[in-house]
């Protein structure tokens, strides 16, 4: 982490209530950092989908298992990690929800939405097991070439 970056860590229980809580925390962080309404919506929804994924498919709704959520805020982007205590998975094994045969399936769109809404997205194995979703959203550059974000401006003052 550089001197200009900030890190916020949250540990969540495996509960459906954690989904809304994670999204609310994320929205506050993204808004305070200076992301616009559209980007806040995309980042918030990605965290929501990531935590749903961790609850349902990772920790399989076992309350005693934890979900570790972290936000790294730098002048250029926000990086979000969502780590569960499940068996882990590989992206290549996730069915494409846009494929004809999957179009009318009632689930399986969460990963797709995270990839669509974030600028960077990856899945890796946590060091102690589990699946770790890593996603990032970049601040939109302003005409001056810098990030122009509230967070960056604050640090420059």
């Amino acid at each position: 982490m550089t001197q200009q970056s900030k890190r916020i860590e949250v540990t969540l229980e495996t509960l459906l209530d954690s989904v809304g809580l994670a999204e609310e925390i994320c929205l506050r962080i993204a808004d305070a950092a200076g992301f616009d309404e559209d980007d806040c919506h995309k980042i918030g929804m990605s965290v929501r989908e990531g935590v749903i994924n961790a609850c349902k498919y990772g920790n399989q709704m076992q309350r005693e298992k934890k979900i570790y959520l972290s936000f790294d805020l730098t002048p250029r982007r926000i990086v979000i990690h969502i780590l569960d205590q499940g068996p882990g998975f590989d992206l290549v094994d996730v069915p494409d929800p846009l494929a004809e045969e999957n179009l009318l399936k009632t689930s399986g769109r969460g990963i797709f939405l995270m990839r669509a809404f974030m600028d960077e997205f990856a899945v890796r194995r946590g060091t102690a097991g589990g699946a770790e979703l890593v996603m990032a959203k970049h601040f939109r550059a302003n005409p001056n070439g810098d990030s122009g974000t509230r967070a960056a401006q604050t640090r420059e003052e």
Binding site: L16, V19, H41, M45, R48, E49, I52, P97, L98, L103, L104, K105, T106, S107, R109, G110, F112, L113, A116
Partner: protein, 114 residues
């Protein structure tokens, strides 16, 4: 935001005015129960008015798909009305916009039933 679904019968069909969020938990379950209840009552021409739905997640999308296929499998039709921009965009990127019969005018939606 609290999910609310209010059905009203008109022109031989049922328009369900929905407001709030259709997300994992209350919203998705509420929509599922509403569609199930209408089908139990024999109402198979259904328009979901989503004009006041401010937020929908992947679970909500799944519930819309479930409602669509359940109604269709029982010989009925489920149509969508007044999508907000966010819901419209979600259906676009998930390629579901072409699956659902989407309308911007209630009268047109009602007259489009077979």
């Amino acid at each position: 935001m609290t999910f609310r679904a209010t059905p009203r019968e008109t022109a031989g069909a049922t328009v369900v005015d929905i407001s709030g969020h259709i997300t994992l938990g209350e919203g998705s379950a509420g929509l599922r129960e509403m569609v199930r209840d209408l089908l139990t009552k024999g109402q198979k021409k259904i328009v979901l008015n989503l004009g006041d739905v401010s937020y929908i997640d992947s679970s909500g999308i799944g519930e819309l798909v479930s409602g669509y296929t359940t109604v269709k499998n029982q010989g009925g039709e489920l149509k969508l009305l007044h999508l907000t921009r966010k819901v419209h965009d979600l259906l676009q990127i998930t390629k579901l916009f072409t699956v659902f019969d989407v309308h911007t005018d209630e009268r047109v939606a009602l007259s489009s039933f077979n």
